[in-house]
């Protein structure tokens, strides 16, 4: 096995193992390590138990050249990472006088006596370096263990601010120097409207496991995202190859891709309304909403975006037939003939909402979100969506799977996507 530039992260804490705290440190550390070319073999989370911490350290050290241990450096009886690391190294813990003096000065500064239990935080296994903590009283430990090959171990506190400070100040420069080279750059592209396997078929050989840059897919809330990782010796090469694969993905998926990295359907629609592409002329354009089964979710998504008042001024939630008639002047005859969940009714909702609001566009939604209300002709999941624009109104019927929450979520996103595609096709 190639041990070089591989790392394992060990998190220590009963609160993590019991699920009372979500481990965000490992995700943060992984991102930092990946960005300087380290491959992460695994994350391991163990309780505040000295034997289990020691075992985790020993096993990790035999499998890679870099181990970062976070947590268990506090002053109380259940903080046992120092003791476990000393045992794994076969070294005695000894006091670091300069850190002890630093802690005493800290407590004098806040006019408190230093509790004797804090002295443990100045203990470091013999032969190890101390990592200075600029945000707290727990000193970190920088150790070397000769396992199958030489492994560098760093123990840092679990408090995110202290952990991040030590990583940036002490650990990052050392690991950057040790890795001598490889750069990993990542990008994420987001698609909507097709399932994961259909996207994978369109990507074809781009998803080969051995490819560099690699392309992988994940799904969340109906959005299939492509994660692209490029690993090369130089930054310029990584940038160029990453850009080439991003361009390949865009060519194969076209307008199925709605955004990159932090972008959402709402943020992309927002940007298009604020700065519309030709032929729409200068922005901002505006959008009004008329919702039945989504009950405000579409408007909520549009107003999630800071500054949304530039393009969103008003919306209606017309949940009952009466409300559709009284607030949006939908002809009762139309409702009686076609039913509330029909292309004719949503088209009227969108046209009238657009007119009353004086908006450039209006989106209207009516559907059966469930669990009740379905009929053989219009089962749960049947949704009609209309988009009214200055030139025309179009309505479509959809069948969404899943429960009430999923139907409402997919419906609102599909409506946003309809508006997006008006600009980008």
């Amino acid at each position: 096995m190639d041990h070089s530039h591989k790392a394992i992260l060990v998190s220590v804490g009963d609160e993590l193992v019991l699920g009372q705290t979500v481990d965000t440190n490992s995700a943060w550390l992984s991102q930092q390590l990946a960005s300087i070319g380290y491959g992460i073999l695994q994350h391991l989370t163990v309780p505040d138990d000295q034997a289990q911490i020691e075992r985790a350290i020993r096993e990790s050290a035999t499998r890679c050249q870099t181990v970062v241990i976070s947590g268990g450096l506090g002053p109380t009886a259940d903080d046992l990472t120092r003791q476990a690391l000393a045992a794994a190294l076969g070294a005695e813990l000894s006091i670091n006088e300069s850190w002890l003096n630093h802690m005493r000065a800290f407590f004098r500064g806040v006019n408190r006596p230093m509790p004797e239990s804090n002295a443990i935080q100045a203990m470091v296994p013999a032969g190890c370096r101390l990592i200075w903590n600029y945000h707290g009283t727990a000193a970190g430990i920088d150790a070397v263990m000769n396992a199958e090959s030489t492994c560098r171990l760093f123990a840092v506190p679990g408090v995110p601010k202290e952990m991040k400070g030590m990583f940036n100040d002490h650990i990052l420069p050392i690991l950057s120097a040790l890795s001598g080279g490889a750069v990993i750059l990542s990008a994420t592209l987001h698609t909507f409207n097709l399932g994961e396997s259909a996207i994978a078929e369109m990507l074809g050989d781009l998803m080969d496991r051995s490819r560099n840059p690699s392309v992988g897919t994940t799904v969340s809330g109906g959005v299939v995202s492509l994660r692209i990782n490029a690993r090369y010796p130089s930054l310029s090469e990584a940038q160029a190859r990453l850009a080439a694969t991003v361009a390949d993905c865009r060519t194969r998926l076209g307008t199925l891709i709605y955004g990159q990295d932090e972008q959402t359907l709402a943020s992309v629609v927002s940007a298009a309304l604020l700065n519309p592409p030709a032929p729409y002329g200068a922005g901002p354009l505006s959008i009004a909403t008329a919702e039945s089964c989504t009950g405000g979710l579409l408007a909520k998504m549009l107003t999630d975006i800071p500054g949304s008042s530039a393009y969103f001024q008003q919306g209606w939630i017309t949940y009952s037939n009466n409300a559709k008639t009284s607030l949006l002047s939908v002809d009762p005859q139309l409702l009686a003939t076609h039913g509330a969940v029909s292309e004719a009714v949503v088209a009227a909702m969108a046209e009238n909402a657009r007119k009353i609001a004086g908006a450039t566009f209006a989106l209207a939604i009516s559907g059966v979100a469930g669990p009740g209300g379905g009929t053989p002709q219009k089962p749960v999941g049947t949704v009609c969506i209309a988009l009214a624009s200055p030139s025309s109104t179009s309505a479509t019927t959809h069948h969404f799977p899943g429960d009430r929450e999923m139907v409402r979520d997919r419906t609102a996103k599909t409506a946003l996507n309809r508006l997006r595609l008006l600009f980008f096709t």
Copy 2:
């Protein structure tokens, strides 16, 4: 080592190991397992690499009697948990016809051909049971491995909703039965409007670490929840002791507690509108909404509840001053004098919304959600909320901390809580 009632959680995914996604599944699963008396030995996170997944499964199975593996059950080439589990078991993967038929029916239902790559999701190692997935296409796997002792393994998807569904429907009953002996019953009470430490002070000795039933607090989205676990040899004793501690908590916190277990502020408000307590007479009563800064979020929460059309017929999103005037007849002079974020304006919005909708109640919201729009007099987080009822209208001003999303969430929940307290004080 005592292997009984010990569990290891294995999470699979490049996105987890690379830190692009935070692993929340392990925390959730740990809480569930702890609540039925399982001790968690460790969490282990490995990449989408068959050899590493197999190694993690093998090693975990030798150390405990229960392993839950989440992730890697998707349809694409980077989903390798099935293959790894089959290899660890020394079994061939074979197709499960009933799941394959179920998937084909699902794709027919949404009018799409089933991509051939999805067939892998119906594969289960020979001799294993399939775990039904009510929320997606990935079947789960229920396996038994004879390692140092017999180990029960469950493979579930990484998508939280699918994972949680399989855990609750299939895994929990099995593990509860296997754990034998002690009965653990849990209840969760939810409070809104006070912080965690204030709630803890009111609970006092009920939160002693050694107490049985135990009482612990967690916070999420402004809601402080009390988790009560009762562990006794018999079901009847556990039920009686749990009920007594629940009653104790209710006595100490009174109307701060809005609900129990799956209840939300919206579901409690919904139930009160459908079946109002005296002196409101027979239900359903109705509620209309008029929202500015929450942009539809309050109406969305009210309509999250199935059957909400019985009490919710219409709502307005009046984001601009013009919309407040044209749709809700708010006097322009009132807006000019007091500003849109004022008790006078939200009171007018609520009263007029109630009148136009012909509803029993109306809630109105206007505020500065940020990040822009704050002034020294009305900084970001300033929100006015009004509740109009048949007898009166009352308006209050609040200052919420946090970012745009948090301000909007707390605002909508505070509005729901206002309506709730009308019924329960």
